[in-house]
């Protein structure tokens, strides 16, 4: 039943995550398809240039290169208006060779997203679902890949993001990449571009090198960095722009004067704009309006006399903010089909733009009639969009179907039958239409109509695609956040209610002989380990979830009929795209949360839970509230304060970046109340114990921190301030420093040996309670751990050898063998544990008194005092084996450190509990302690199982309820281990190498599981360990006073056969189990509460700051990580509760 509660909570979390992320993440299928090349005849119709120089100037806003005049705001700003004057000057002088316009950049206006749009012509996404396994490389079709495929030679200078996006596309001898991160550096990248591009242009005139390159790409960062640093209105920007202008003038000179370059196209464009402070990332008009300039030494543009070739609808204009007159405006995605077709390349498969008409309207050098090239280009592009949308599952939208003109497809299919097989997407054409299409190449009238229709369709498709992919969905996000909030409240309410409700909170003293409620069938149904109200309310919550689905669907239907869904929108944003699935999820989440909350707050104790008769059985609301507030002691306030601080930190980009430092800081603070509790205790042994284990805990936590890697944004900062006089060092620097002193195999060996410390720690800890680790576990655990780390040692030391070399091949085989053996041994260990989890050993002594032999004997149970706690620890140690198998070599040491920290925490909490018990009841607790210290129990028994429980029993096990203060650090510990295993909440830090732990190539399922364990294992592990706090050093309650048979009879409800005594015993046994099991559930809930609050905070941060400059770099990945951690923790809690249940059953079998 406990597991069922947690599974229900998992479902609730899943629903809220689904709702939030489908509103927040820009999700889009990235298709791997590639357009086939153009046929020669088609190419001759559209291609104008052989070569291209494409210069991306980061954050080049339209007004930076626009001509001075009414199209930009006046009065002009002397720092950036008219400074970069070459484009405007050439456009005025040669309107047939030079054109300036603005391009709309789709938000997020961040460089990475823009580069993707500028090359693939698609809309931005957060994660390109379906992208290949690992790496940032663009998996979609783009003109860069098309050029590479067409055998063109590509050169590159500038921001090295491009090199990561297109690995292998650029000719290594023509490539100079630079880091893009250092905003303070205005010049390095630009200077490289300014010097290298002209010299590369000059290469073509060298006779020996006739074709040194076909496409030159440059990406300069100076303008962007000047904007970030100074804001645009600053002398620094002026200097940068005039420097850039000189460069552009040089390019124009080179192109004009070298006859070799008459076929070279020059494109200069910004990837986005910048706001008045020089920042970008959002969707403000100034950020989305990028400037573009195209220049050719030979005429290729529609001059005013050719204007009639361009249908009026294709001429879009817009008003720059603050300007008086509109200017020529396009979409940034339009540049992709334009560049592709001008260079004779096919339109990339996922492109959503329309060719810019001016570029295709004039064809003096081709035999084809004017205007037909435009029709050809537009048709090819529009048909490409049609094909893509079909494949991406977006066809069938009414508006799109209306806009689609089959003749457009007909023309495209006529020109490129291999790319657009006619039957696949167009309605069959009549003969006259066929004729029209073939005439289109010659007829101005038809070609104008075709171009117009193709353009209209492209724009409609772009609109539809934006509505589907590139908009945050405010209502969905809000709904998701509300669901996440409800999940937090529900988990908190469950924790609180179970704490109030458990019998130990009002443990019956002498009045043990409570009788079960009269309704016998009710008691019969009751699973012995759960309070009835919980069992019922979980059932009800599941039912409510089902009912909620129905309600949600009905609600959706109602809104649909009323046509109201489109009206749901946050102010200024596009309407929601909530569908029936979203409504169903919403209904399920809210209805079942409400049901569970109602169960928690209604008089739960009255629902047949009559374990204790008396006034206490149903506390009044007032009593409940006083109890609720009595929880807020200093000890309880600290962890809650830490949780609140941690949550608030997620609203600041600085703290999200430095979360890997924040988490251990909170972790080291967490033991403070426990230490204070024990230090003020009168018992010296308790103080020593607490100090020792707190030290173990703190040192382990600190050492886990040495495995961190730094995020890109942490830069030279490392949490020590940017101006420290000494260069700070930690993490990787420690390794570097050590490596300079000691041979570099030593840390590897140490890391590889580290996992073996886990069994050592395990046996050391269990020795104090004289618990005995079962033999199979004792053998399987070290072997499994050793083989796991051996796997990674081999991987690490043969990383240089390719898999095809002899060494690499052998190493791979050995490694796979080791890994599988380790996995099998680990699984075997867990199976062995499941069959025999307990760590006790029983010895019987024959009675010394010979007279009554056979009547009485002494039974000594070693490991009794920690009978339930020790197996939890063994289980946790066993769970470390799969973690080690999926962790890279440097992370191997984190396993034992994590284990040490967990053990330290258990023991510290235990000491504090003892100290608290001493404070509350000095005499009784002291006795209990004294008897608990030997941790063995001897008692005499008669054959009729008249066991005498030790006198101290009840006082030891009826300690205070488990507190959040004890549980929250485990959630933090999981996060800390996540960071300590060289992870960060970024996509870039995913350790894809773990995918190959068990196999040489990616195997769907196994490989994904390995990466998931590598990423989320620590959080899972720490949450699973939380149940240990419910049973640690809590010895089983021996309550049986009657033979088992009588007990069984009483339980099976055979009323007449059972004696009164038997009934009592059954009730008592139920109570004992019930208490433990409730506590186990509460222990499992603790870390979940922390992590669900954290998920909520991360999601709120991402939603509120969705227009933040860093949203895609920082907040979005953090929100996703928060969701993944929560799911991992939910699963960990399930496993933990399962293990505790297994132990509980076994304890009952042995002692019950």
């Amino acid at each position: 039943m406990n597991v069922s509660v947690l599974l229900w909570l998992l479902a609730l979390h899943g629903l809220s995550i689904y709702l939030f992320l489908s509103g927040f993440l820009l999700s889009r299928i990235a298709l791997p398809d590639v357009s086939p090349p153009l046929s020669d005849s088609t190419r001759s119709l559209v291609q104008t240039h052989k070569r291209a120089v494409i210069v991306v100037l980061d954050a080049l806003r339209y007004d930076f290169l626009a001509p001075l005049g009414d199209t930009i705001p006046s009065p002009h700003d002397p720092y950036y208006h008219g400074v970069l004057s070459t484009p405007a000057r050439t456009a005025a002088e040669h309107p047939d060779r030079s054109i300036v316009f603005s391009a709309h950049a789709d938000p997020p206006t961040t460089t990475l997203q823009r580069i993707k749009a500028l090359t693939t012509g698609s809309l931005p996404t957060f994660v390109d679902a379906g992208a290949n396994f690992g790496g940032e490389a663009i998996g979609e079709d783009s003109w860069v890949l098309q050029a590479e495929k067409a055998g063109k030679k590509l050169g590159f200078v500038g921001d090295n993001t491009w090199l990561a996006l297109f690995p292998g596309a650029f000719d290594p001898s023509l490539t100079w990449g630079y880091d893009s991160f250092d905003v303070e550096d205005l010049h390095t990248v630009d200077n490289a571009i300014f010097s290298r591009i002209p010299s590369l242009l000059n290469l073509t005139s060298t006779p020996s090198k006739s074709d040194p390159w076909d496409i030159l790409l440059a990406h300069g960062l100076g303008i962007d960095h000047a904007g970030h640093r100074f804001s645009p209105s600053h002398t620094g920007m002026q200097a940068k722009l005039s420097q850039t202008d000189t460069f552009l003038a040089t390019l124009v000179d080179l192109l004009d004067n070298d006859p070799m370059h008459k076929d070279t196209l020059l494109v200069v464009m910004g990837d986005h704009g910048m706001d008045e402070h020089g920042n970008h990332g959002g969707d403000a008009p100034l950020e989305t309006i990028a400037g573009t300039w195209m220049y050719s030494p030979t005429p290729f543009l529609a001059s005013s006399s050719d204007r009639e070739n361009v249908p009026a609808q294709m001429h879009e204009e817009t008003l720059f903010p603050g300007a008086l007159a509109p200017h020529r405006h396009t979409q940034q995605v339009d540049i992709v089909p334009s560049i592709s077709l001008l260079l004779g390349l096919p339109v990339p498969f996922g492109s959503l733009g329309a060719p810019i008409p001016e570029l295709f309207a004039l064809r003096p050098h081709t035999s084809v009639g004017a205007g037909s090239a435009l029709a050809v280009a537009s048709s090819l592009s529009a048909t490409q969009i049609h094909t893509f949308l079909d494949k991406a599952g977006m066809s069938g939208l009414d508006a799109l179907d209306e806009a689609w003109d089959p003749r457009v497809g007909g023309l495209a299919a006529h020109l490129a039958p291999e790319a657009f097989p006619r039957s696949a997407y167009t309605a069959p054409l009549s003969t006259s239409e066929e004729l029209d299409v073939s005439l289109a190449i010659g007829s101005r009238h038809i070609s104008r109509a075709l171009a117009r229709d193709a353009y209209a369709y492209s724009r409609e498709a772009l609109r539809a695609a934006r509505a589907r992919w590139a908009q945050f969905d405010g209502p969905l996000m809000v709904v998701g956040l509300v669901s996440a909030f409800l999940a937090v409240v529900v988990a908190g309410a469950l924790f609180w209610q179970l704490g109030l409700d458990s019998p130990a909170a009002s443990r019956p003293g002498p009045s043990i002989g409570a009788v079960p409620k009269a309704g016998g069938e009710d008691a019969e149904e009751t699973s012995p380990d759960t309070p009835t109200w919980l069992r019922k309310s979980v059932l009800r919550a599941w039912q409510a979830m089902g009912a909620g689905v129905v309600l949600g669907v009905q609600l959706w239907g109602a809104f649909k009929v009323l046509g109201r869904i489109d009206t749901f929108a946050l102010s200024g944003e596009s309407p929601t795209r909530m569908g029936v699935l979203h409504f169903a999820a919403l209904g399920a989440a809210w209805a079942s949360s409400a049901s569970m909350l109602a169960s928690c707050f209604s008089s739960s104790t009255a629902t047949g839970d009559a374990r204790i008769e008396g006034p206490k059985s149903s506390p009044t609301l007032l009593q409940k509230f006083t109890r609720f507030f009595s929880v807020f002691t200093f000890e309880a306030a600290i962890p809650v304060a830490l949780m609140i601080l941690h949550s608030l930190a997620l609203l600041s980009n600085s703290f999200v970046i430095h979360e890997s430092l924040l988490v251990p800081f909170l972790l080291i603070t967490a033991p403070l109340p426990f230490l204070m509790r024990t230090i003020s205790s009168a018992r010296r042994d308790l103080r020593r114990k607490a100090l020792f284990w707190a030290g173990v805990y703190a040192v382990c936590v600190r050492l886990i921190g040495t495995g961190r890697v730094w995020r890109e944004e942490q830069g030279v900062f490392f949490g020590l301030g940017p101006h420290s006089s000494v260069s700070p060092s930690d993490g990787p620097f420690i390794v570097e420093t050590l490596l300079s002193v000691i041979p570099n195999w030593l840390p590897r060996i140490l890391n590889a040996l580290a996992p073996l410390a886990t069994p050592v720690i395990l046996s050391y800890v269990l020795q104090t309670s004289r618990s005995r680790v079962p033999f199979i576990v004792r053998a399987a655990l070290p072997a499994s751990l050793a083989l796991a780390s051996l796997t990674w040692l081999i991987e690490d030391s043969t990383a240089g050898a390719g898999a095809d070399s002899a060494i690499g091949g052998v190493a791979r085989i050995v490694r796979t063998l080791c890994a599988w053996t380790s996995a099998v041994l680990g699984a075997g260990g867990i199976a062995a544990w499941a069959t025999q989890p307990l760590c006790i050993s029983v010895s019987r002594e024959a009675p010394t008194d010979g007279a009554k032999a056979g009547e009485k004997q002494t039974i000594t149970v070693l490991g009794f005092a920690n009978a339930s706690g020790a197996p939890v620890l063994v289980f946790q140690a066993l769970l470390l084996a799969p973690l080690a198998l999926c962790a890279l070599l440097p992370s191997q040491r984190v396993g034992p450190l994590l284990f040490g920290a967990l053990v330290g925490w258990f023991e510290l909490v235990d000491a504090a509990r003892d100290a608290r018990a001493l404070d509350a009841n000095p005499v009784g607790a002291a006795n209990a302690l004294a008897s608990a210290i030997p941790d063995t129990h001897s008692y005499t028994s008669s054959p009729s199982t008249q066991l005498q429980p030790p006198a101290s029993q009840s006082s030891t096990s009826s300690g205070p309820r488990i507190a959040l203060a004890e549980l929250f650090p485990l959630a933090l510990l999981g996060l800390h281990a996540f960071f300590g295993t060289a992870h960060q909440a970024t996509i870039a830090s995913i350790q894809w190498r773990a995918a190959f732990a068990l196999s040489a190539r990616v195997r769907p399922g196994i490989s994904h599981l390995c990466v998931a364990i590598n990423e989320l294992g620590p959080v899972f592990w720490a949450t699973a360990g939380a149940v240990g706090l419910a049973v640690w050093n809590v010895s089983p309650r021996i309550q049986v006073k009657v033979p088992r048979s009588a007990l069984n009879r009483a339980k099976s409800g055979g009323g007449e056969g059972a004696t009164r005594e038997g009934k009592d015993a059954a009730v008592e046994a139920e109570n004992g189990d019930h208490e433990e099991s409730t506590e186990v559930l509460r222990a499992a809930l603790g870390p979940l509460i922390y992590l669900s609050v954290l998920f909520l905070a991360g999601a709120v941060g991402a939603a509120v700051l969705r227009r933040h400059l860093m949203v895609w770099k920082i907040f979005a990945p953090r929100a996703v990580a928060g969701a993944l951690w929560l799911i991992a923790a939910d699963l960990g809690a399930v496993i933990g509760v399962w293990s505790a249940r297994r132990i509980g059953r076994e304890v009952k079998r042995v002692f019950g």
């Binding site: 640093r229 100074f230 002691t633 200093f634 600041s652 980009n653 600085s654 703290f655 970046i657 430095h658 430092l661 924040l662 251990p664 800081f665 080291i668 603070t669 204070m676 230090i679 003020s680 703190a698 040192v699 936590v701 600190r702 921190g705 040495t706 944004e713 900062f717 490392f718 949490g719 020590l720 301030g721 940017p722 101006h723 420290s724 006089s725 000494v726 260069s727 700070p728 060092s729 930690d730 620097f733 420690i734 420093t737």
Partner: protein, 299 residues
Amino acid sequence: MAPRKQKPAARSTIPGVYTKADVDPSEREYAPEPFPFARYTSLVGVHTSLLAFSALFLPQTTSFFIDIPARVTDRPAHPLVETLAYSPVLSLVWIAGGVFVLQSWWAGWIRMWYFEQASRGTYAEKKIEQSEISKAKFADYGKASVFTLTVSVVYHAIVILFGAPVLSHHPHTYLLSLILAFLTVFAPAYSLGRLTMGNDTASWIKWFNWTRLFVEFSPRNAIERAMVYPSIGTLVGCWFGVIPLALDWDRPWQAWPLPPLFGAIIGYILGSLGALVTTGVYWLAEEQIRSEQMRQKTK
């Protein structure tokens, strides 16, 4: 927080000021003077101002010896801050020196008041006790210093556990720990006696006193408050002082360990003022009661 110890009802119900009623009736005539509140107030004012001064202006001494180059930056800071952040270690050395002198002076007062209010007996007995105490002054001072140095090493380890770098910045970290130790434990060690690990009664009593003050936070009178509040304030301030370290403001004063250090000093000053205000409130209440009693007597 642990429950405060209940006082017998017969005594003053206000746990702040030492009153005549608290003294054994047989020696009522020789009860100590009421706490010198006025002098305490002025001393706290002087002490906290001097502390703030030494934190901000002592490090400026660096500029007398070293010509501090102007930083090339588009975000210039105040020259005071520029000098402070130029070399955190030098700044820390200056501050540590200032704190050392100030705490020695302050601890002298605390110790005097502590023994004054603790001493019992006849006038002659008290005189003898006082002379003994002042004789032990230097020995105690030495012991307290050694204890403070020991604690600074422990603090150093704790600061590293909290996340300070393991392999570098030890001068920074240690000076921070030293200043923390002087702010938190020097005055108590000088008055209460340092903690010892012995098994004898004296050690036991000291342990009890220290834990009562610094773990259970239950100071019983003005002097204890003047010791405990600033110490707690220092540690809490230092803890919160870490927060600005992570902000990406790119300011020179964000260098390790300046923010936690200034957090600690601000915490100390606030704690000191908090103790003053608390004692003041109790003192006023006590005065009120006393005047009531006087009025009733005259009636």
